[in-house]
């Protein structure tokens, strides 16, 4: 399992190499991985019937972070969707992006994204779940902005990243609270301990944070705006992100945590409320857009809202409907997106109003599109019909807000029937449109995916007992928390859901007939609304962030070195001094009885050179007196028998003086620019720092919080490390890791100085 999850990352490493070998068959070649993963995951199908499976791998045992994988009905459903649809997406991408100069790069990101997604749905540990969650945000950012030369694509990618990563932060807080409440970072343990969570004081905060993460990721209102904008991505990306992956991650999280957090009023109402509003919003915008990808993107928003709402309803029926709709949506949305890409590819436009009568030139595309759209509209004999009937049935006996949700759902169903017409009837039937390119049938690689997905949707519709017995029973059980008995069938007899379906179909078709005349009006309404919508709010927030950032940069990074020093010294010694006063106070014993006259001499030398260095106007004199100070310190070291320190101090001091002299040549003449006030302020801060450090040194002599470890080094230096020079043994053996870090810091400093010098030199060469 570990290999299965990580294999995408591994293959991503070799994708550029394979691209060179396989050439235009790269999509087919790479698709072997998700295909075999799908086969591997299906071997778990029989096992999850008996309950969840926990596969354990150690990762950081010291921190209690493990790479355990939780395989149950829900995670397996997602894993199969991701790997199954992923297979066709890779084939499709190889064909759609054939000849693209960054094709290899595309596959690297796509495979990493797929692997992150698999990790996300299979992780048992909250921390690894979060890591994979963020990985999907980052890789999807790169996918959305794949056409990085396009300003619009970059902007949209950044928007998606900001929204999902902001939600990710909230999610992290939520996950940590969840772990505190249940005292475990393991999902399987958390799901087993539902009772203590509801009473916990963190419950409200955790639910709000977790939902903030899930809502941003799954594009719930008011965060829905990033999703249609993510259409800037190449179509294979949209097809994958919107059908089975990225946006479903939030849905997965809510479904996953439902047994633990559900049945709380807050959870139920938030999910039902936001879900229903999102559903309506998505359906409305889907029906009023003209770009075929926009239409599909907004219908995804509708689907995400529906799924959220169904989790919120939380009954057994609702959970069954949830799983069915999840699978149905993934199948038809993946197919429709790929077909939309084919249309765009072969006609040269995304605008539905310019398409028409394409059924003659693109017969295969048209056939598949009609069947996929039937599933979207929820018509028999496709699987979408079963999902929709179940959904209506579940809402009819929802415990709360039943009629309200029902009205919203039927309204959105009407609009979605219209949308189905937009994507399957408008482009292919009627009068020929006016497309930039002469249309012709899409290549095999671009049709195989939609065809297979639609055939699966048809097969599931005709034989619903197959998915029901193989997977759905287990999946519904893991969302609901307890096993649920249900039976899927295409025909339920004439009942309330069927009548509602019929009504929405008729009204939806009428709306579709009227679409060409009412669309401009709808568009005008949307345009007026966009000024006050959530996206306008997003831009306001971003503007505000920029303003604050430049204000605080001017404040903190003003470029005056003296101010930096002043702030650093004042803050450091202020805090240190405060802590000392607070914890220890000011008292020390100064025993000067056994001091020698030469020690007094050195002390005097140190003080005198320090005073001279700060008072002189000559830079060279100042450097020289600093040198004297350093040599004095070295003398002190030698007097108190620390020859290594003494030698090092002498050498460092010598080299420092040399370096300073080299720098001095570059400085302008000494001019006194500071006001007397500034000089006294600097003096005060310096004196303060000196006093604090002196008091601290004296205090150190008096108190000892811990037993000194120097005796350990003295005793063990020779026997353990075979060295008599303790200082050196500490440096290269006992604490070698510190030294390793230090030489890296040293090297970085050297490179920093070098690049500063180089930059300076380049500046001077500029006219």
């Amino acid at each position: 399992m570990l290999l299965a999850v990580l294999s995408g990352f591994l293959l991503a490493l070799f994708a550029p190499l394979l691209h060179r070998v396989a050439g235009k068959y790269i999509g087919w070649l790479l698709s072997l991985l998700p295909a075999s993963l799908a086969v591997y995951f299906s071997t778990f199908l029989s096992q999850v019937q008996d309950g969840p499976l926990l596969l354990e791998y150690q990762w950081l045992p010291g921190l209690g972070i493990s790479l355990n994988f939780l395989v149950d009905g829900l995670s397996l459903t997602f894993a199969l969707l991701i790997s199954g649809i992923g297979t066709f997406i890779l084939i499709y991408a190889g064909s759609y992006l054939a000849g693209h100069k960054y094709l290899a790069r595309f596959f690297v990101i796509m495979l990493s994204f797929m692997a992150s997604m698999l990790g996300l749905v299979l992780s048992d540990n909250l921390i690894t779940l979060f890591v994979f969650w963020e990985l999907t945000s980052i890789t999807s950012y790169m996918l959305i902005g794949f056409n990085h030369e396009d300003l619009e694509a970059r902007k949209c990618a950044l928007q998606g990243l900001f929204v999902t990563v902001a939600g990710g932060l909230a999610l992290m807080a939520g996950l940590i609270m969840l772990a505190i409440m249940t005292d475990s970072y393991s999902l399987s343990a958390i799901l087993a301990s539902s009772d203590p969570i509801h009473q916990h004081v963190f419950y409200t905060g955790a639910v709000l944070c977790l939902l903030a993460g899930a809502f941003t990721k799954s594009a719930q209102v008011p965060f829905h705006f990033w999703l249609p904008n993510a259409m800037a991505a190449p179509t294979p990306v949209s097809a994958f992100l919107h059908s089975a992956t990225m946006v479903k991650a939030g849905i997965y999280l809510m479904a996953r945590l439902n047994p633990a957090l559900g049945e709380g009023e807050l959870w139920t109402m938030m999910l039902m409320g936001f879900g229903a509003v999102t559903m309506l919003t998505g359906a409305w915008f889907a029906f009023s857009s003209t770009g075929i990808k926009k239409v599909l993107a907004y219908s995804t928003v509708m689907a995400l809202g529906t799924l959220t709402m169904l989790i919120g309803v939380g009954t057994e029926l609702a959970m069954t409907a949830f799983i069915c709709f999840l699978v149905a949506h993934s199948l038809y949305k993946g197919a429709l997106f790929m077909l939309a890409g084919a249309l765009d590819h072969e006609t040269g436009t995304k605008d539905i109003t310019r398409m028409g009568g394409l059924r003659k030139s693109m017969p295969v595309t048209a056939t598949i599109a009609v069947f996929a759209a039937l599933s979207l509209a929820g018509l028999p004999p496709l699987f979408g019909f079963i999902a929709k009937e179940l959904m209506l049935e579940a809402l009819l006996d929802a415990p709360l807000w039943s009629s309200l949700l029902l009205v919203a759902t039927v309204t959105s169903a009407i609009l979605i029937v219209g949308v189905a017409g937009l994507v399957a009837i408008k482009p292919f039937f009627g009068a020929p449109g006016n497309t930039p390119k002469a249309p012709h049938e899409a290549p095999f690689g671009m049709l195989v995916g939609p065809a297979v997905l639609t055939i699966i949707a048809l097969a599931f519709g005709l034989m619903p007992f197959i998915p029901e017995n193989v997977l759905f029973k287990a999946a519904v059980a893991s969302v609901h928390g307890t096993p649920v008995d249900f039976h899927l069938a295409l025909w339920h007899g004439i009942n309330m859901p069927l009548i509602l379906s019929g009504v929405s179909l008729v009204v939806g078709l009428l709306l579709f007939r009227a679409w060409p005349s009412i669309q401009p009006g709808l568009n005008a309404v949307n345009f007026a609304g966009s000024r006050v919508g959530p996206e306008a709010g997003y831009f306001k927030v971003m503007e505000w962030i920029t303003v604050v950032a430049s204000w605080q940069t001017r404040l903190l990074q003003n470029g005056v070195l003296g101010i930096y020093m002043l702030v650093l010294v004042a803050v450091t010694f202020g805090l240190a001094g405060y802590t000392m006063l607070d914890q220890y106070g000011v008292h020390f014993t100064l025993n000067l009885a056994d001091s020698h006259f030469y020690e007094w001499g050195i002390a005097l030398l140190l003080v005198a050179s320090a005073v001279f260095a700060s008072g002189t106007h000559s830079r060279l004199g100042s450097v020289a007196s600093m040198g004297v100070l350093g040599f004095g310190v070295a003398l002190t070291f030698i007097l108190f028998s620390a020859p290594d320190l003494g030698i090092t101090q002498l050498l460092v001091e010598t080299l420092t003086v040399i370096l300073l002299v080299l720098v001095l040549f570059k400085l302008p003449e000494f001019v006194n620019l500071s006001t007397p006030f500034q000089r006294y302020r600097d003096l005060a801060v310096s004196v303060f720092a000196g006093v604090v450090i002196t008091l601290m040194m004296l205090a150190v002599l008096d108190i000892q919080y811990f037993e000194s470890i120097s005796s350990y080094y003295v005793e063990n230096s020779a026997p353990l490390a075979y060295g008599r020079n303790i200082v050196n043994v500490i440096l290269v053996d006992f604490r070698a890791l510190d030294t390793l870090g230090e030489i890296f810091v040293l090297s970085l400093a050297a490179l920093g100085v070098l690049s500063m010098l180089k930059l300076k030199a380049e500046d001077q060469h500029k006219p």
Partner: protein, 141 residues
């Protein structure tokens, strides 16, 4: 920057080899007596800085053979290399390994990962200071 005094030239030529030998002596005796890679590296840097003052940055580059940044890199690589034996034998990072090679005359040559590490420190320190000094001197020209 280049000095034209004969005294400095002669002194540099005389002192530099001695200083370099001394730096290597300090490096190797460091484990038992005052010295070590850090101090050795500083002394060696002092030798090259003296040479650079006498004959200019260009000449110092020539006599260094390797670029100062390559010295830095070599130092860091040696430091990292000394972690490998412990890694391969599954011990905590930087666990010391010792090898004793018999020498003619019954003596033993003690080699160890801390020694490799110390040589790494030597080169890193030398590289850092030479990067500073040569960089500064060249930026004046």
């Amino acid at each position: 920057m280049k000095s034209n005094t004969m005294i400095l030239h002669t002194a540099a030529l005389l002192i530099m080899p001695l200083q370099l030998m001394f730096s290597i002596f300090l490096l190797f005796r460091g484990h038992d007596e005052p010295g070590g890679g850090f101090i050795g590296g500083l002394v060696a840097a002092g030798a090259f800085v003296l040479y650079a003052f006498a004959f200019g940055a260009e000449a110092a580059r020539r006599i260094l053979r390797a670029g100062p940044r390559d010295l830095l890199g070599a130092g860091l690589l040696l430091g990292l290399a000394s972690t490998l034996p412990a890694l391969f034998s599954g011990q905590p990072m930087l666990t010391a390994h010792w090898w004793e090679l018999p020498l003619p005359g019954g003596d033993y040559l003690k080699l160890s990962t801390p020694l490799i590490f110390d040589i790494g420190v030597y080169f890193a320190v030398l590289g850092t200071i030479m990067t500073f000094v040569i960089g500064l001197m060249e930026s004046e020209e």
